[in-house]
Each structure stands twice: as structure tokens, then as C-alpha cells.
């Protein structure tokens, strides 16, 4: 590739830009692209555009509430006890959490301030008409003993949370979910859905973070 003419080199490098941005090129290709964009303004612009596209694609989340896995139905389908498509209930994903008791809403009243949590006087976030989209919910998850790192990672992935580097206590992980202005009912459903996973023993909201005005 080092003997290519300038135009050919530019074309070859341009084709690789998406994978330069998503960081899957091998080392030699990455070095060649990096060297090229150091001298090519057009390719630098394209890297900027592709980075913008990547951010939009990765942060856009039209389906933040992933339905719970329907393992039993899948296994039933293996035996021919279910239809090929297994189940057709489009709202099944919403109902999957109903086996778990409603969590204590009072846990929502914990509020992060200073070094610890302090209870606000009343709950006025998720149900407030003035609720703003950028509300974060801090959730603590306690995993069942023996849960593998892969299962934990899958759970964090399922709820769109970054995997914490370490637990806050033994077996307890604290994650922040940007769920927007959920109604209290939807928030409860979401927490119940998380808690219904077999690898999770408890899931509770310990804080609600409002945007600073």
C-alpha cells in the first residue's frame, strides 16, 4: 500500500475510515490511516462526520426497555410445544415483571448530596409535570451468589448501563440509568423487570439525579 499513487492511497484510506472510527482496523492499517489523515483535510472532515454518526447511532436508544428473556417459551418451542415464533404477545415484555412485588417507593426518596445521601422532603421527579428528560436513576443491584462475570456483563448490557469497575460492597453494584422522565408506574415496571432476572437478587433505586438548572 505504501507504493500507491496519492489518489489511489487517498481512495484506499477513505474506504477504511469507518473502521478507523470504530477502532477495528489492525495496527498496520490504523497507522497508515492515521498518517494519511494527518495530511488530508478531506479525510479529517470525514473522520469527524463518521464519529458524529457513530455517536448518534450508539446513543440513540429507541428501545431502552428490553423485554425479559422468554427462556421457557424458547425451550417449549424446541419440543414443538410452542409455535415456531414462540409467542406473539407484543406486550409480553411489559408484563414480564409482574411476578415480583412492587419495590419500596420510599427508596426513591434518597437524594445524592455532599458525601452521602439525604432524603428530600417529597418525591417530585418522575411524576412531576415539569419532569425533564435527562433524569438519572442510581440503582443498586445485588447479584445472586455465584453469578458469573459474563452474566453480570450481560445484565448491565441489557439495562443499558456501563459496567462498574468494582462493586460498592460485596456483590452490590451501583449503576446510573438515564431513563428520562418515566412515570412512577413505568419506573416500577423497569425495576421489577431487572429484579425478575434470575441472576439478580435485589434491585432498588437509591437516588434520583435531576439536572442542575
Amino acid at each position: 500500500m505504501t507504493e500507491l499513487h496519492d489518489t489511489d492511497r487517498h481512495d484506499a484510506m477513505t474506504e477504511l475510515l469507518p473502521w478507523y472510527v470504530n477502532d477495528t482496523l489492525d495496527e498496520s492499517e490504523r497507522d497508515l490511516v492515521r498518517e494519511h489523515i494527518g495530511t488530508c483535510e478531506d479525510c479529517r472532515d470525514n473522520v469527524e462526520l463518521l464519529s458524529q454518526i457513530q455517536r448518534a447511532v450508539r446513543t440513540e436508544s429507541p428501545a431502552p426497555l428490553v423485554p425479559a428473556p422468554r427462556t421457557e417459551e424458547l425451550l417449549a418451542a424446541l419440543d414443538g410445544r410452542g409455535p415456531g415464533h414462540v409467542v406473539r404477545n407484543r406486550w409480553r415484555w411489559l408484563a414480564a415483571a409482574s411476578v415480583i412485588a412492587v419495590i419500596g417507593v420510599t427508596s426513591l426518596l434518597m437524594w445524592p448530596r455532599g458525601d452521602g445521601f439525604e432524603s428530600p422532603t417529597r418525591f417530585e421527579t418522575a411524576t412531576s409535570p415539569a419532569a425533564i428528560e435527562s433524569i438519572n436513576y442510581v440503582i443498586e443491584l445485588q447479584f445472586v451468589d455465584g453469578t458469573s462475570a459474563q452474566a453480570r456483563a450481560a445484565l448491565f448490557d441489557a439495562i443499558d448501563a456501563s459496567e462498574p469497575a468494582s462493586p460498592v460492597n460485596e456483590g452490590t453494584y451501583r449503576v446510573t440509568l438515564a431513563l428520562g422522565s418515566l412515570s412512577l408506574t413505568d419506573l416500577e415496571r423497569h425495576i421489577q423487570d431487572i429484579q425478575s432476572r434470575p441472576e439478580v437478587s435485589t434491585a432498588e433505586v437509591v437516588a434520583v439525579q435531576l439536572p442542575v438548572e
Binding site: 474506504e15 470504530n22 447511532v57 429507541p62 428490553v66 415456531g84 414462540v86
Partner: protein, 195 residues
């Protein structure tokens, strides 16, 4: 977590998934359950992005796992398990799109979404709008590269296309999005489909 630790973790995950596929090929139901729990969320998000339909995505995930169950014996191990599984997902979703005549670009069953999500869907930025005007093959290539983070070899394997075709699709997709951005800035319309 350091880069080497992350790489090691992913390497371990790949080994575990290969072992699970071998067990599934031998009709081990527990192995299928394990793989299902590991892939369910990722597959749902991916096929939802392709179909823009909650109900279709909900059905498709289990269809995909059934296909994994039936086809695990054909996994030759020359690609990552995730590439093979997402290849199945890609083809199943395309089949569904064709059968149901859903259009990736135009169909979004907002009525099936809870209100909070409907609002989120309505808040489209220009990139999202631009992506939805792309021909299906180009849009899907963008999803595979930027949503799943696949290399060009992996995209070629998933889509069963030559690498040069994958690169060409991405090139044209980017060019079209750039034209749209420029025309959006100047208030003009663009036209012309390039596959």
C-alpha cells in the same frame, strides 16, 4: 479496567461462547439457555433497530435462537460466535422485513411504544433522519459498523458480501449523509439513490 484486561475478558467470552455452541450442537438445552441469556438484550436491540417494531423484534429474538439451536452444528469456528449469531439475526430480520413488507426507512410502529419511548423516538436528530433515508443495504451496513462495532471482515461475513462491496456501501452511505448535511445547512433538497 486496562486494555489487556478487557481483551482478555472478551477472549474468554469468545471461548465460552464457542464451547456453548458445541454443546448446543449436541442438543444441550442448558447451553442454549445460557447463550440466550447472554445474547437476548443485544439481539433484541439489534433487530429492533432493523425492524423498528417491538413486536417483530420480540418474536425475532426467539426465532433467531431457534435457528441457532438448529444450525449450531454448522458453525465451523472460522468466525467469532457473535459474528455467526448476528449473521443469523441479520438474515432473519431481512426475511421478516421482506415477508411483512416493513420498510426499514419508513416504518416505525410508535403506537406500540410506551409514551416515554414514543417521545424519545420523536426527538430525532439529523443523523438519525439521514440514516433513515439511506437504501436498506447502506443503512444496515452503518448499523453493523457503528452499533455492533464490527470490522469490515465481520460485516462481510454477516452480510455474505465481498469486502469491497461492504466498503463501497459504507463509502456511498457516508457520501450521501454528507450531501444531506450540506443541503440541510443550505436549505436545499438532495436526490439520487446510490447502492
Amino acid at each position: 479496567m486496562s486494555t489487556s484486561q478487557t481483551k482478555s475478558r472478551w477472549a474468554n467470552r469468545e471461548l465460552e461462547e464457542r464451547a456453548l455452541l458445541e454443546l448446543i450442537a449436541a442438543k444441550d438445552r442448558d447451553a442454549l439457555s445460557d447463550l440466550y441469556s447472554q445474547y437476548h438484550a443485544r439481539l433484541f436491540k439489534f433487530v429492533f433497530r432493523m425492524t423498528r417494531s417491538y413486536s417483530a423484534a420480540d418474536e425475532l429474538v426467539n426465532d433467531i435462537m431457534l435457528a441457532v439451536w438448529r444450525g449450531a452444528g454448522k458453525f465451523r469456528g472460522d468466525s467469532k460466535p457473535s459474528t455467526w449469531i448476528f449473521g443469523i439475526a441479520y438474515r432473519q430480520a431481512l426475511k421478516r422485513l421482506s415477508r411483512k413488507q416493513l420498510s426499514i426507512a419508513s416504518h416505525l410502529d410508535v403506537d406500540q411504544l410506551p409514551d416515554t419511548q414514543s417521545r424519545a423516538v420523536e426527538q430525532e436528530d439529523w443523523v438519525r433522519q439521514g440514516l433513515e433515508t439511506l437504501p436498506a443495504a447502506q443503512r444496515l451496513a452503518m448499523e453493523l459498523v457503528f452499533f455492533l462495532g464490527l470490522s469490515y471482515e465481520e460485516v462481510a461475513a454477516v452480510t455474505e458480501c465481498p469486502i469491497n462491496t461492504v466498503k463501497t456501501r459504507m463509502f456511498h452511505a457516508r457520501r450521501k449523509l454528507k450531501e444531506q448535511l450540506l443541503s440541510s445547512a443550505s436549505g436545499e433538497n438532495t436526490s439520487g439513490e446510490v447502492e
